[in-house]
Symmetry: C2
Subunit: 270 residues, 2 copies
Amino acid sequence: MVKTTKLAVVQFCPELGRKDANFSCMRRLTDDIDADIIVFPELCTTGYFFLSRDEVSEVAEPVSGESGSFFSEIAREHQAVVVAGFAEKDGDRVYNACLIVVPEERRPRVYRKTHLFYREKQCFDQGDTGFFVVSDRWRDVRIGPMICYDWRFPEATRILTLLGADIIVCPSDLVTDIWRRVLPGRAIENKIYIAVANRIGAETRDDEKLLFTGQSAIYDFDGNEMHSAGPENEIVLEVEISPELTRNKSFNSFNDMLGDRQPQHYKLLL
Amino acid sequence: MVKTTKLAVVQFCPELGRKDANFSCMRRLTDDIDADIIVFPELCTTGYFFLSRDEVSEVAEPVSGESGSFFSEIAREHQAVVVAGFAEKDGDRVYNACLIVVPEERRPRVYRKTHLFYREKQCFDQGDTGFFVVSDRWRDVRIGPMICYDWRFPEATRILTLLGADIIVCPSDLVTDIWRRVLPGRAIENKIYIAVANRIGAETRDDEKLLFTGQSAIYDFDGNEMHSAGPENEIVLEVEISPELTRNKSFNSFNDMLGDRQPQHYKLLL
């Protein structure tokens, strides 16, 4: 019997600067779900479209802040791993980050976005954690977090796969849908699940409007879409995945997707 | 005015061990075309399904052999770059290789397949050239060759892009069509053209039958299929491409597909 894990991906419309409203919405959407892993969008407690570091600094929090406490509570209540984007403050630095809360563990892990998009470059420090995988031995699943624009870099999913990820989780505030034409291939080439939790709605600042594209999606390790959302609806996507099925990367007696790599010829990637 | 380049991709059925028949077929198919770049399949002069090094050694040739001469002649006649797979012998080594013949240059370049598939591991030496790009200043196009199963490794297309390729050319003897779900995304993530020259037909050895899947395809740098072949027909796909349109990788005032890479976080790829 192959064990399955219940995955939930939350798509909603965070309101800029209104944490309490966002907490309420996320609680309402997840109250009745039954999940082992819950993924929320990027910067889902604060909203997205900041124009300066000062603006971000006003709402950013340390891991122990109210966003961290909120997601730890959700994790504990559901006995689920929670992955959620938030604006992190660490001393005088601010990061577009995501928490990975494993309920049995004392401290959440924090991934800080490696590739910054658009005006994020004016607002956030460059992420310095690099990529890592959270091995959850209670649910026997290995989770590789990345955030939104990280999707554009095949290096990110590849590294997470090399680190043993069964599933890539990607809190997002995407404004295009090009990613939908690329991520199925990434699932195939790495034989991993990919879950994109994207937000919906729009934010306008100084006459510039960002329209978020929703369509949150979960791909299986053959690149098939298991479930997806519309471009505008609030929804929780729920599917069952089989993490251990991603672990054998060989597909005939001669070839193995990772074993066949020839890193001695990859030096130009660095 | 953006300059265009005429690209031709040849799909046919090489016969195992019958070089003369294969030369004749390739000549017949290309006699009347008007092209600046012509791409033929993998091992297109010898056929594919060898079972041992000894078998390959019998038909493999140095670059200066009859296959090399044949493709140099085709290149000269058409004043076109020719890319074509062949079995290369170099001393006591044998490679699944491809020639890149630029008619104005004295010597062809040779790419030796980096990632070997299935029984190729019993028959060929590991390719040792690594990836490189051929800059053709006469036609102003930068060509990045890879061969068949190299497609499975996002590292290959990425390196060729970093080396400045406008177009990836991929002589192939593919036996699945999974690649069709992945390569459009590779074109998008790297903003490059991709041309796959696949063979058709079947070869049976010791009761094992390999069925080649055809469907040769040319993708533009937005991942759109410009032209493709059926799974069984002999055909030359002809399109016009605009190599210089691939060269600006920025897509807004903050972001650049290659400039945004963070190689300090990619060390695990090696």
